[in-house]
């Protein structure tokens, strides 16, 4: 596999392989010196056109723990501010010979376009409303870690599905692994033709709450009010927020997940975030191991160099 642009590039087998590799890198991360030489001499370029805390840091830490060099790039301090096009920036970065480019952009499809403009491997770190594959992978890894497997789990994704790249990648990943996914949102926050997605739909969180293994909350942005998609965040929280009362109706082992950054008190009540079945920090922690696995999968071409017990 050359690029990771979409969860579809991996399929169920690929997701499993990433998770198995991530098991190994989790162990690496727990060592006193959490570093392996697997990607020594490789260079990973970060091309983040959009603000990011956790994804960018996570990729940087992952690359360094594999001994790869990291080329940073921040839009505000670059030629992008002088009007340089994405294509020209990609050409410039590529000319410095990175082995992988990690791309985040507010427009859907930019990672796919980037892949056509560079010889490097391209990793999609989030493109518009389209996909965020490494987020879905770390979510699969987290569910697998907590519940043993993703297959057969009933996963409720609630929130602004329409504008969410996380939702698109998660739906693909969870269903590929055999989970039953239900999307919950007011119709205005569901994508068009959502009937063609391999999911169930509910407009009511209350109707599905007591019967699920995972509640996955998505960020709801204030701007949705001005677009007439929501009357108010207050009404959103009342109808679709994971309040303390609603959380009490969950099965005791059910997980509460969120990709972050969370609007405390809007999507999920602060008290619920502090409960032991809320996995937000674990998701971030697993993100490093999962991204190490992805970088390793794409860049360590020689299977003989793979760590023992990892991979196929």
């Amino acid at each position: 596999m050359k690029h990771l642009l979409s969860i579809n590039d991996l399929g169920a087998e690929g997701i499993d392989e990433v998770c198995r590799l991530a098991d190994h890198f989790t162990e690496v991360s727990q060592r006193p010196i959490p570093k392996v030489p697997a990607l020594r001499g490789k260079t990973v370029a970060m091309l983040f056109y959009e603000d990011s805390t956790r994804t960018r840091l996570s990729f940087e830490v992952a690359a360094r723990r594999l001994s790869a060099d990291v080329m940073g790039f921040s839009v505000s301090a670059s030629s992008v501010n002088k009007g340089e096009s994405v294509r020209d920036t990609v050409a410039t970065v590529s000319a410095m010979g990175p082995d992988a480019i990690v791309v985040r952009h507010r427009s859907a499809g930019v990672p796919q376009q980037t892949a056509a403009w560079t010889h490097a491997s391209v990793i999609n770190a989030g493109d518009g409303w389209h996909e965020h594959p490494t987020q879905a992978l770390l979510d699969c890894y987290t569910i697998r870690d907590r519940l043993g497997s993703v297959a057969g789990r009933r996963i409720v994704i609630v929130g602004d599905i329409k504008h969410s790249r996380v939702a698109r990648s998660c739906v693909m990943a969870f269903t590929a692994l055999g989970a039953k996914v239900t999307l919950v949102a007011p119709p205005t926050l569901l994508p068009p033709e959502v009937g063609s997605w391999p999911v169930d739909i509910s407009f009511s969180l209350d109707a599905v709450l007591s019967d699920c293994d995972v509640v996955y909350g998505l960020r709801v942005q204030k701007e949705r009010q001005s677009e007439a998609l929501l009357p108010s965040l207050r009404e959103y929280t009342a109808q679709w927020g994971l309040t303390v009362a609603r959380a009490a109706r969950l099965h005791p082992d059910a997980l509460v997940m969120h990709p972050g950054p969370v609007n405390r008190g809007v999507e999920i009540a602060p008290e619920v975030l502090d409960q032991p079945n809320a996995t937000l920090n674990e998701q971030v922690r697993h993100g490093v191991a999962v991204r190490m696995a992805v970088l390793y999968l794409l860049l360590a071409a020689d299977p003989d160099l793979r760590p023992e017990g990892a991979g196929t």
Binding site: S85, G109, Q112, H130
Partner: protein
């Protein structure tokens, strides 16, 4: 000096016959067997037709000469078999007053085909105030449109139609309700949902078609609908015509050829406005062209320089080239008799643009010598680098198509001979 076109099948509005055609001094002088002339153009195996008329071409001049000029766009037209093109007014400055009309027409007089221009309906195409249509009509403008945008305000559109009717000119509408379409970059449906690209629903077009049919019935003024792309739009036009409303409609080549699935490549070469639609809408466009609900094939030729089409999908401008591929796609994609395809490209659009008699006219002695000769069976592969247009944004790169223009004669002058441009 006379030119004879030998050995072709002549097709015009009056029918088909095997005949040679002699042109001299801008006129057809003879049609019949075994004719001769000073220059001989071979037409064996070819159709000899009235030159095509594109009522929807973006020639980009003035303002975006890096994408196309009236000269390069006209050469693209000639290579596509067109003897006339109608320029769209979304230039910079827009073609919304006599001064800009005169500039475009002056540049057009140097072009290898006849260049007509449309004029904007509203000042600056802003949809706020009527443009001086009478002064533009006095210079020969027959088609008025804010193309690229629809006239949003119903009251203003009503007045524009009433005013235009008094001048004997036709309003052409780019049907799109902004409040439904804003922020969208492809058809809203299964593919936009999957790709995470904001969509434009079919209803954005259909609501304005519905409104303008009502306004046409109300005012008695004719209305022409540009680049219709949905099943609903075409059904409404068909019903309106049957009810006696004076409507005409065009379909763009890409709307009967491509579907929204093409956007899965995220290549902005497939971004166009109105957007590529699902297969059912594409089929409805084909049906409309076949049963007469749609009068004309238009190209919506929209050149964009490579750097603007190498942007992220949602940042790239909409539009694709069309002049050099329209005939081939019509022959390849539409299962229609040759004479119907020629009518859709020639006399039917000529009638809408008020060019009847000059373009699309019957090929008979005394008629104007605007002709095109094409081989309906030659297959070829679209190569962006080989296009005459200044831009390269064809969505058909690498596509094998059937039907190729061999000669084009404009005003009696062979400007394309054996596919070679003759400046």
């Amino acid at each position: 000096m006379s030119t004879v076109i030998k050995g072709g099948l002549v097709i015009d509005q009056t029918g088909e016959r095997n005949a040679d055609v002699v042109v001299e001094d801008g006129r057809v002088v003879a049609v019949g067997p075994d004719l001769s002339g000073d220059e001989v153009l071979d037409a064996s195996g070819c159709v000899v037709a009235p030159g095509f008329v594109d009522i929807h071409a973006h020639l980009r001049q003035p303002g975006a000469e890096e994408a196309e000029t009236i000269e390069t766009g006209s050469w693209a037209a000639v290579r596509g078999g067109y003897s006339a093109v109608v320029a769209m007014p979304n230039t910079n400055p827009p073609i919304d007053c006599a001064a800009v009309v005169q500039e475009v027409l002056a540049l057009g007089r140097l072009a290898p085909c006849d260049v007509y221009t449309s004029g904007a309906i509203t000042v600056g195409r802003k949809g706020e105030q009527l443009a001086p249509m009478a002064e533009m009509a006095a210079l020969g403008v027959r088609l008025f449109t804010d193309d690229g945008r629809g006239v949003q305000e119903a009251g203003l559109m009503r007045r524009a139609m009433e005013y235009a009717a008094g001048l004997g000119v036709v309003l052409a509408q780019h049907c799109e309700v902004d409040s439904l379409a804003v922020g969208g970059h492809m058809h809203e449906g299964e593919w936009s949902s999957r790709l995470g690209i904001p969509g434009v629903p079919a209803e954005a077009e259909e609501l304005m078609v519905m409104r303008d049919i009502a306004l046409s019935r109300f005012t008695g003024a004719p209305i022409h609908f540009q680049h219709l792309s949905t099943r609903g739009s075409i059904a409404m036009v068909r019903a309106a015509r049957e009810a006696g409303v004076e409507v005409t409609a065009e379909a763009a080549t890409h709307h009967f050829t491509l579907t929204d699935e093409a956007c899965a490549s995220y290549d902005p070469v497939f971004k166009v406005n109105p957007p590529l639609r699902p297969a059912d809408d594409r089929d409805a466009v084909r049906e409309g062209l076949s049963d007469g609900a749609v009068d004309a094939i238009a190209t919506d030729h929209a050149p964009h320089s490579p750097d603007t089409k190498e942007m992220p999908f949602d940042q790239a401008p909409p539009g694709m080239l069309g002049l050099e591929t329209a005939l081939a796609l019509a022959l390849t994609e539409l299962n229609l008799p040759l004479a119907e395809v020629v009518g859709l490209l020639s006399w039917q659009p000529a009638a809408i643009a008020g060019l009847k008699g000059v373009h699309g006219a019957p090929i008979a002695p005394g008629g104007s010598a605007n002709l095109c000769v094409f081989d309906p069976n030659e297959t070829w592969t679209v190569d962006p680098a080989a296009l005459a247009s200044r831009s390269r944004n064809t969505p058909y790169a690498g596509r094998q198509v059937r039907g190729r223009v061999r000669h084009t004669i404009v005003g009696g002058r062979p400007v394309l001979v054996d596919q070679e441009m003759r400046p």
